[in-house]
Amino acid sequence: MNLLIKNGFVYDPINEINGEIMDIAIRNDKIVESVPERTSKIIDASGLTVFPGGVDIHTHIAGGEVNTGRLVRPEDHEKDFVRKTAITRSGVGYSIPSTFTTGYRYSRMGYTTVMNPSMACLEAKHTHEELNDIPMLDKATYPLLGDWWLVLENIAKGDLEACARYVAWMLEITKGYAIKIVNPGGLESWGFGRNVHSIDDQVPNFGITPREIMCGLAKVNKMLNLPHTIHLHTNNLGIPGNYATTLETMKCLESIPSDGKPVVHITHLQFSSFAGEDWGSFRSGAGEIAKYINNHDHVTFDMGQIVFTDTTTMTADGPFEYTLYQLSGHKWVNTDIETETSGGIIPFHYKRKNPVNAIQWSIGLELALMTKNPWKVFMTTDHPNAGPFTAYPKILAWLASKKARMATFKRLHKKAQKKSLLPSIDRELSLYDIAIVTRSGQAKALDLKEKGHLGVGADADVAIFNLNPEEVDIANKYKTFRRAFSNAAYTIKAGKVLVKDGEILQQSDGKTIWLDLQTSKEIEISEEIKRKFREYWTVEYENYPVSDHYIKHSSPLTIKADV
């Protein structure tokens, strides 16, 4: 089927198109040079803003941890429910929506591709089963590899080659997309209730440091030619003064050879940019971090922007969640996964009048606005950790409008207002910048070549918003802008019109993207490894992999590795 989107204001930063009035032609599920107008379905986009479909680099939407989060929060669902319609399934929200609702809500905001950033390998089947039940979106997921015993042992031995082969094997059998590292060394230590407190602390029983794990896996990432960099949740996350750890972390990865490309993606950087000695003297470390990132090109990051609301925090960083539990006394879930990782969940209410939360809010925006190059910054809330993804339009307004920021700023705790750098920041992101931080930059960082742009050959994923950039100054009329980005005029995915004026027109399954890694030498599964498997895990080797039937619409990306 052909589709022609006519006369929209097109923003396509990868192809350096900045608000030109253009037509976008679609044949089946791809963007093409042109289609015959007579036989095509026409969408009149005159006076509307046309973006590539949104890409989210980091959002917890599926898997064991997310689902346990759903399970422990009936009171969160009770207040936000969705009735079944003739087209769509029913569901519940708010901070951790059920699978179908997740898909619908993303699609309504013009998103078409999302990355689930935290998958325990042992429970990978669960993640994929849930991804199958999230319609409207293309998806991929990152396995947690930073505290996996076979990684720790091989890096400690200095055998990166072997480590790389194990990582390749794991990425493939879990159908993963990138190497996720969470509090390296800390999660293994948490197995006995301890943690690491600097990148040079020894990990108990393994004779290795977080620095070695990060550098080792960054090199492995390179050896395997993975499309994305290592995806890193830093040590000491969520602890006052941790910006120093974050700086050291970035410094220790400077030396990884990179051909000018990024080496590390630091995720939800807001939580890793805290200065001060304790919660009392808590302040922003965003200035120092942004300064470093402005001078170095090996780092990209996403914001992890705080939204003032009742949400649910969930991360593989078990010790951090325990700290939150001690602070809040709220219900606390901890799940340690044998030989691999851990995880924790705490419901959390971010409040404007709480000085720490208010400063956190400021940190996220400071980071994004003080980093000069928008291609290094991606807008996320680390859904649902700093807030549900449905708050994205609000955050975009804060980024694009000083007026919007200051409206919220005025209502913050006074102490936070005094400490914030925001009043001195005048930068306002343009629609072009917004397109970068919400899709193009993210697609580029993930090296998803057919996503995040509208050039010929790209996937026909398009978001059209009811916003006339010639008439509306988004910095001034931020509410109009926010409304437009809350409910897309059209969301088109793989050439199908899924959403019109914020209403779901049809339900459509997305693809699951995973890496089909071609190593020069296949990893040998010797009896030795099978024996080790039995020792390390409580499941049989044969039952561990995610077999093909666990993926409804499989979309493997073939990568040739150097090992």
Partner: protein, 270 residues
Amino acid sequence: MIVLTPFKKSQYPIIAQCINPDVFQEKSKEEIGNLPVWIGNKKRRLVDLFKVEKNSANSTSITINGDVTQVRRIGWGMTQGEIVVNGNVGMHLGKKMSGGKIVVNGNAEGWAGSEMKGGLIEIKGDAGDYLGSPYRGSTVGMRKGKIVVDGNVGSDAAVFMKSGTIRIRGNAGPFIGFRMTGGVIHIEKNAGTRLGACMIGGKIVVSGRLENIMPTFAIERLKGKVKIEPGDKAVGPFYVFLGDLAENGRGKLFVSKEKNPQLSQYERFL
């Protein structure tokens, strides 16, 4: 005043959130009759299940004549006005209400006054479980207001209670005042087991018998009278216990000395 009379007793649960003075306000009889209700999995109008009558012009009170045990969510979130039920009433009566008054001349099912924020509920008969307690997983208990039950009360009343008053003229089941942090509960007859378990603050007064006291409560003193509300005191003497120690709590249990000779062993600590 609106008078509702159910046509018959329903087998299926009826969800009728609309029976609420705030919703009925300034609506005509026809408009009220057209309000949506659910019976089982079918959507109906109020007028399909009730005879709707309106007398006198602009009073915000609602009277229900008849048994509405299966009708749930009556007075959900009401802020003012009055509901009188002449008969038994279903679950979630006056849930999240913040003002106004509900009188039940009969029994109430579970979750009456759940997550209540203000107002008054009077139940002339018995009340079910979870009286004034929050929804599953929520820690937001009763925050204000008053509940009076003339009959007996089931289990788990006043869970996570923060403030307000609950008066139980009859007996109470187990786990009353579980995890409460404030407010006052007066049980005029006998109390069930695990009274005040995990409480951190607030007070529970038992004028009748308390079979077992949790081992994690410590006796503090004897007291002659205890204040329930301004101008209302319960007369003792009472043993005063402090707990729950498992939560480092400072909640107070007042247990009648006269009705509970089995607790005299605690006197040696005084």
